[in-house]
Structure formats: structure tokens, C-alpha cells
């Protein structure tokens, strides 16, 4: 735990915000707490795809984190789709502010896709918020169910009540 304190101290001294590193860490962890339907993966070895839609605030660190992670026995890869068609193979999609309503609608309806939103009025299954200087999230269980996903109780218990705002 000394690592945590050193980390906080270092960030504080050098004015770096940990907001996006924390969000990147969440994105790669969510996979372990969500169950996808069988049909979402082509084969038992098929990797889990995390897609970043719109502006990418993470850069290489998301790729590095995904490379070091395994969930449900699957590797993780990060894609940055440039067309709506390319969204088809995604399992987790991160959509920051500025993604068009059309794309958001498409992703919300896509089966087997965990939509993670961040900013903006439109909320996906998981919506990041900043509360008391920490990154937290709100989970929309109904939206998850509509996409065919099962969210574990541990992740649900960490989510804030809907209504908590930025």
C-alpha cells in the first residue's frame, strides 16, 4: 500500500491528473465482472475487444494495460474503429463526449456490447462520473440486460446510485 501513497504524492507534486489512467484501468477490469452471451465470441480463443470511439484520451497506456490483462481466459485487445460497421466486433466500447447520437444509438442497441459513456447527456450501461475527486461510475442494469449482458454483484455494489452527477 506504500505504492498507493507514493503514487498519490507523485501525482500531486507534478500536477498530473489520474483521471484517465484510472478510467483506463476500470475499462480493462470491467471485463472480468461482466458475462457476455456465448454468441459474442467467435471461438473460445477469440480475444475480448475494447473499442475507443471518438476522441482517444488514453493513448498507449490503455493498450499496455489491456496487454497485461486476461479475463474469462481471454486476451484483451484495443481497437479504435473509424466506422460504425467496425463496431460490430466490439465487446466493450468507450464513448467520450462528442460521439454522435447516431453512433450512440447504434451501440446501445448492439447485442453483446458493454457501452461505457463519459460525459455527455447520453448514458450507457456504465457511465463514468467524478465524485469527491474520485472516478466512480453509475451502472444501468436494465441497459445491460437489453444488450444480453450479466453484470456481477461486486461491480454493481461499487456503482453509485443513478442520480449522482458530475
Amino acid at each position: 500500500m506504500l505504492a498507493l501513497s507514493w503514487l498519490l504524492s507523485a501525482a500531486q507534486t507534478f500536477g498530473q491528473s489520474l483521471e484517465y489512467p484510472v478510467k483506463a484501468n476500470y475499462l480493462v477490469r470491467f471485463a472480468a465482472f461482466v458475462e457476455w452471451p456465448q454468441a459474442a465470441f467467435g471461438s473460445p480463443q477469440a480475444p475480448l475487444r475494447i473499442c475507443v470511439v471518438g476522441r482517444d484520451p488514453f493513448g498507449r497506456q490503455l493498450d499496455q494495460l489491456a496487454g497485461a490483462q486476461v479475463a474469462h481466459g481471454r486476451r484483451m485487445v484495443v481497437h479504435r474503429p473509424d466506422s460504425q460497421a467496425a463496431l460490430a466486433g466490439c465487446h466493450i466500447a468507450y464513448a467520450g463526449a462528442g460521439v454522435s447520437a447516431e453512433w450512440l444509438d447504434g451501440m446501445a442497441r448492439q447485442p453483446g456490447l458493454l457501452l461505457v459513456t463519459d460525459g455527455g447527456a447520453r448514458r450507457g450501461c456504465v457511465h463514468f462520473v467524478i465524485v469527491q475527486n474520485r472516478v466512480r461510475f453509475i451502472i444501468d442494469q436494465a441497459a445491460g440486460a437489453r444488450s444480453g449482458l450479466t453484470i456481477s454483484s461486486r461491480l454493481l455494489s461499487l456503482g453509485l446510485q443513478p442520480g449522482a452527477t458530475r
Binding site: 504524492s9 507534486t13 507534478f14 489520474l18 476500470y26 469527491q132
Partner: protein, 647 residues
């Protein structure tokens, strides 16, 4: 027999209740079969990659920006700061705040008797001498203006709901208020948003019995509350002759906390009431301390990324001792603004405290006047300038005003440099003062001891430190200091050697030393920790009649301390922790060095329920920790069984 019988029955029924509750599965069970596997991190390159080592719950606790939350200094890295985490507290088996503070290698903790402790950093330790320490609990200052020290027997928190304790050795910097001279201890409790649900912890031991209960829940969509109760009993210590010191103590505390985090404004309300029966220092008599507080805290995140925060609190404390009674009322208001301008982060604000103390005594010696209002005000400003991404300069200044001595200007400068990716070099120079206490200004025994115009003690501190994380498994920190003191407390006769005595400021000199600590992860299931401190004092005062005490106010301090700890996960459910500490010879005059060990074996029954067997002070039947011969008590070896559920 009646009292002991009642206590036994209470404990047996509490234990039965606890066991029933635990087995009924009232606690929220975490699923044990998580599908996540995280590969070992690839050698720490940059800060953010350390996040990969945190659990999901820990990620939710990471504060993301340099805007500090509860009085935490922005340039916190440029200081000798040791952070005690909830995990450290849990694995230590400690049952009270002073015992938890033994984990900090930069502190010297001396247990005096069943309820009293003397705690300092960098010297001046002793029951009457430890007066250069600022202790804050959620931003509330808890040192006493009666003697400028901390009455640890008044304090108590539910240790399981502590979020972290920051132990800073050295002057804390511009953001900390009065009495931050040799050290600042910043105790922060968890937000109610993080303590929903029931929780219980029960300890039954040969020395200590503690029961803590907490329950929390949500308040609408944005808030949460918790209420808690904690009670303790402590057995007596022994006099050096072997007879009982008759200082057994007990007490109870009730409190609550509520937090709202909706929108841009965050609110916190908390309070508690307590009553403890404690060692009175006199044989055959006990003393009572009691009181309570109510506090409102507020913060707002501003659009430009800045932050506004403040608090207001009122605290009342009573001390009823055989020979004197004190009633103290405090009201404190603080407001602080943090704002960024390019590479500069500026924090500025003010603090005002009204302190009304009334001490009545049964004998000829007392305080004159009986009742005194002390006001402590401060205006502070700090600029943290990121000159380059790897070099930060923090300039701070505090204008501290107290009703005894007026205004003091206290500047400080800190620089932090990050030469490579994994290490940090820092240096600091600061000025601090320790303002007079009521005893130093008002103690009066006409003809024998009379008040004179006691001034503030002064410190100029020069510090330097190095912190490194060479790889994923090892991290350590070293700090060195050179303190120059002036106007230290002495007791003088009149010129010519006649009474009355006065408290005067004729002491001075310097002290130098250092602290170091580190942690090594031998393998994922075994961690070793070590700590050490060194102190060399060169303090003096003129001979009588200028000082008849030989500068006793410099305290009794060990020249060195050593700490070793091993934390091991033996199986998935069993943990074994061992802690060794050595306090060197107490200088001046005093006490030989002692070495002691604490051990803890714990078994996790369910994800939220843990049972632990804790042994404290295992190496000797009895040992003494403190210098003054009159106050020495023998602390015994003890064992206890601890149950923790829901926390």
C-alpha cells in the same frame, strides 16, 4: 466481583451476538471466484502504471487530481510523510490511535500508563514535554491549549473506519495551523459513502477489550450516513515496584457521520460524544474525561478546475481530575481556495479558532485567571510551481496570530525534483513557532511561581529527502533534518536566585537526525518492511538561576529506533504478521533501550469476516517506555482475540 461479573456477561453476550451475526451471513459476501487475472506489472516506469496493482475497490478510492481534499498539503511529496493505510491498521492488531501510530517509523510513541501516551517526532518526548505536535482528525485540531500537548486519552475513533493517517515529521508547511512544529498527524476517516452496511468488531484480551459497532446507509441518491458506537476497557499497568498502578480505564463513544456528494457541492456533517474514565496520575483515584463535537465540512469543485473548501466545528471537552477540573470550548472556522494558473497551483485561505478554557483547582496552585479566551488565527498562501515537469518549487507563507504573542510570519520553501522516472529528491526550509500554552502563561502559585511573559518557541528546520521505487517490489524513503531551536522553555528564579519562579524562554540549540523506511515484496504473498530513525540533540540552557531544570523541556528521546515487520499470506485465508521494534536508550538520563515484538495470526472465515489472535509486547513480561521516573509504569505482555465483520 459484581462489576467484573457484569462485564463478563456483557462480553460473552456480545461475542455470541457477533458469532451469530457472522454465521447468519448478515455481511455482504464478495464472490470468491473472480475471473480476473492480472499479469505482473512490468517494472514501474511512471506513476499511473502503479494503478494496475490496485483492486477494483481501491481504484474507486484513488484521488485523481492535485487538488487536496481534507487539508492534505499539495507538496506532500516534498516532506517526510509516512502514510498508514486501513490495511496497515488491520494487520497491526492495534486497538487505539496511539498504538496504531507505532507503525510510523518517524514517530516515537511512549506508552506511559493504561491511558496516557507521549508521542513526538524528532525529539521533545515526554508527558509534559511533548508539545510540538499538531494532531488533526478530519481537519479538527485536537491538541490542548492547556499544555500544548495532546491528551490522547480524550481521543477515539472506530479504527476500522479510518481511511488513512498521514504522519508528517517536520513542520507541515503553510497549510497546517498552530502547533505544527515537529510533526503533523492527519487522521482522516472514511466518507459515509464508503461505509454503508452493518459492521462489528469485538476484541477480548488480557489487556484490552474493545467493542465497535457501526451501521450505515444511503441518503437519497447522493448521500450516505453512518452511526457508530465504540467502548473499551483497559487493564491496569504496574508500578516499577510491582504493585498495581490502579490506572485501569474504560469508556465509550457514540458518533455519526453523513456525506452528500451531489453536483458540485459536497457536504459532510459529523459529531460524537464520549466519556472515558482514565488514569489520574495519583494513586487511589481516577479521573473522568468527556466531551463531544459537531462539525460541518463543505467543498465545491469550481468550473476552472479549482476548489473551494471549508469547515466549521464546535468542540467541548471536560477534564475532571482529583486536583483540578478543566472545561474547554472550541469553535473553529476555516476557508481555503485552490486555483491553478498555468504551471502554478495556488492555495490560500484562513483559519480562526476561539478557545475558551476554564480551569479550577482545589489547591493553592492554579491558573490565573481561571478562565481564559485564546484566539488563534492564521492567513496562509502557498504557490506550487511546476517549473518543469520534473521540478516543482513550493513557496508558502503563514501569518499566525495568537492572543498571547501576536503575529508571527512563517515562511517555507520546498523543492521536489524527479531526476529519473522512479525517484524523487526533495529539500525544504521552514520556520515554525510553538505558541504559549495556558500553563506557561497563567500558572500561578503566588510567591513561589508567577506568570511572566512566556514567548513562543521557535524553530528553523532544514530538511532533505530521497524517495525511490527502483522496481515493482521495492520502495524506500530517507530523510535528514537539521533543526535550530530558539526560546525553548526554561524555569528561572529571579536574578539573585530568589523566588518567585517564572517560565522563561532561555533554552536553545540544535538537533539533527533522520528517518528511513522501506518495503520489499519478496513474493506476492510475503512483504518485508523496515524503518529506522536517528536523533542527536544539542540543546542547552544557561545554569541556575536562569534555568533550574537543566532544560528538562527537551524531553526524553531515544537516540535511535528500529522497526522490522513481516507480512505474510500463508494460505488464501490465513495471514501471519510479525512486528519488531526497538527503542534506543532514552537521553538524557534514563531508560535503557527495549525491544518488543507483536504478532498476529488471522483467519478469514468469509470474505467479510475475520478472526485474529494478536499478541502484544511478547518479548518481555513487563517493560517501561517513558523517561520520567515518577511516571514510569510497567507495560505487560498481552494477548487478545479479535473478530472483525463487515468492515
Amino acid at each position: 466481583m459484581g462489576r467484573a461479573g457484569l462485564i463478563m456477561r456483557t462480553w460473552v453476550s456480545a461475542a455470541a451476538l457477533a458469532a451469530l451475526w457472522a454465521w447468519a451471513g448478515a455481511a455482504q459476501a464478495l464472490p470468491e471466484d473472480e475471473a480476473v487475472v492480472t499479469a505482473q506489472g512490468q517494472g514501474g516506469v511512471d506513476g499511473p502504471e502503479d494503478l494496475a496493482r490496485l483492486s477494483l475497490e481501491e481504484l474507486a478510492q484513488v484521488e485523481i487530481t492535485s487538488v487536496s481534499l481534507r487539508g492534505e498539503p499539495l507538496a506532500g511529496a516534498a516532506a517526510a510523510v509516512f502514510v498508514i493505510t486501513p490495511e496497515d491498521i488491520r494487520r497491526s492488531g492495534a486497538l487505539s490511535l496511539p498504538e496504531v501510530l507505532r507503525l510510523a517509523p518517524n514517530l516515537n510513541v511512549q506508552r506511559i500508563n493504561a491511558s496516557d501516551y507521549a508521542i513526538t517526532a524528532r525529539g521533545f518526548n515526554g508527558y509534559e514535554q511533548s508539545n510540538k505536535l499538531l494532531v488533526l482528525i478530519d481537519g479538527r485540531s485536537v491538541y490542548s491549549t492547556l499544555h500544548s500537548g495532546v491528551f490522547w486519552e480524550h481521543l477515539g475513533v472506530v479504527l476500522e473506519d479510518v481511511e488513512r493517517i498521514e504522519v508528517i515529521s517536520g513542520p507541515g508547511g503553510a497549510l497546517y495551523g498552530a502547533n505544527a512544529v515537529n510533526s503533523v498527524i492527519n487522521i482522516i476517516t472514511k466518507s459515509a459513502l464508503d461505509t454503508r452496511g452493518p459492521a462489528l468488531s469485538a476484541t477480548y484480551g488480557t489487556d484490552d477489550k474493545v467493542l465497535s459497532l457501526r451501521h450505515g446507509g444511503s441518503l437519497g441518491d447522493h448521500g450516505a450516513w453512518r452511526v457508530w458506537a465504540t467502548g473499551f476497557e483497559r487493564e491496569n499497568t504496574r508500578l516499577v515496584t510491582g504493585a498495581s498502578a490502579r490506572d485501569e480505564s474504560d469508556g465509550g463513544r457514540l458518533g455519526f457521520r453523513a456525506d452528500w456528494a451531489g453536483g458540485r457541492d459536497n457536504w459532510t456533517v459529523q459529531g460524537d460524544v464520549y466519556e472515558h474514565q482514565v488514569a489520574s496520575g495519583e494513586p487511589m483515584s481516577t479521573a473522568d474525561v468527556s466531551g463531544g463535537f459537531l462539525q460541518l465540512g463543505w467543498s465545491r469543485d469550481l468550473q476552472n478546475g479549482g476548489r473551494l473548501e471549508g469547515h466549521i466545528y464546535r468542540a467541548l471537552d471536560w477534564r475532571e481530575f482529583p486536583l483540578s477540573n478543566e472545561r474547554r470550548a472550541q469553535t473553529d472556522v476555516r476557508l481555503q481556495h485552490t486555483v491553478g494558473f498555468g504551471a502554478h497551483t495556488i492555495v490560500w485561505g484562513g483559519n480562526y479558532r476561539w478557545n475558551k478554557s476554564r480551569l479550577t483547582s482545589a489547591i493553592g496552585v492554579g491558573l490565573n485567571p481561571v478562565e481564559r479566551d485564546i484566539t488563534l488565527g492564521a492567513l496562509f498562501a502557498q504557490d506550487q510551481w511546476a517549473i518543469t515537469p520534473n521540478l516543482t518549487l513550493t513557496l508558502g507563507a503563514k501569518l499566525e496570530d495568537d492572543s498571547f504573542t501576536g503575529t508571527a510570519f512563517l515562511p517555507s520553501a520546498r523543492v521536489a525534483w524527479r531526476p529519473g522516472g522512479n525517484d524523487l529528491i526533495w529539500a525544504a526550509v521552514s520556520r515554525a513557532v510553538r505558541t504559549p500554552s495556558r500553563i506557561e502563561r497563567d500558572l500561578s502559585f503566588p510567591g513561589f511561581l508567577e506568570p511572566a511573559n512566556f514567548q513562543s518557541e521557535e524553530l528553523t528546520a532544514y530538511e532533505v529527502g530521497y524517495r525511490a521505487r527502483p522496481n515493482d517490489r521495492l520502495n524506500f524513503s530517507v530523510s535528514l533534518f537539521h533543526n535550530e531551536y530558539d526560546k525553548l522553555r526554561t524555569v528561572s528564579l529571579q536574578p539573585g536566585g530568589l523566588p518567585p519562579l517564572n517560565f522563561t524562554n532561555r533554552g536553545g540549540g540544535s538537533a539533527w537526525g533522520g528517518e528511513a523506511w522501506g518495503s520489499l515484496e519478496v513474493n506476492p504473498r510475503w512483504r518485508l518492511k523496515a524503518g529506522a530513525s536517528y536523533l542527536d540533540k544539542d540543546l542547552s540552557s544557561p545554569p541556575p538561576p536562569a534555568d533550574i531544570t537543566g532544560l528538562v523541556s527537551q524531553g526524553f528521546d531515544p537516540d535511535n529506533q528500529l522497526f522490522l515487520a513481516s507480512e505474510a499470506q500463508l494460505t488464501d485465508r490465513v495471514e501471519f504478521d510479525l512486528r519488531l521494534r526497538r527503542q534506543g536508550d532514552l537521553q538524557p538520563a534514563g531508560l535503557d533501550a527495549y525491544t518488543e515484538a507483536d504478532a498476529r495470526l488471522s483467519y478469514r472465515l468469509r470474505p467479510e469476516v475475520e478472526l485474529a489472535l494478536v499478541g502484544s509486547n511478547l518479548l518481555n513480561d513487563y517493560h517501561v517506555e517513558t523517561g520520567e521516573p515518577v511516571r514510569r509504569r510497567q507495560i505487560a505482555r498481552s494477548v487478545s482475540l479479535q473478530l472483525r465483520a463487515g468492515f
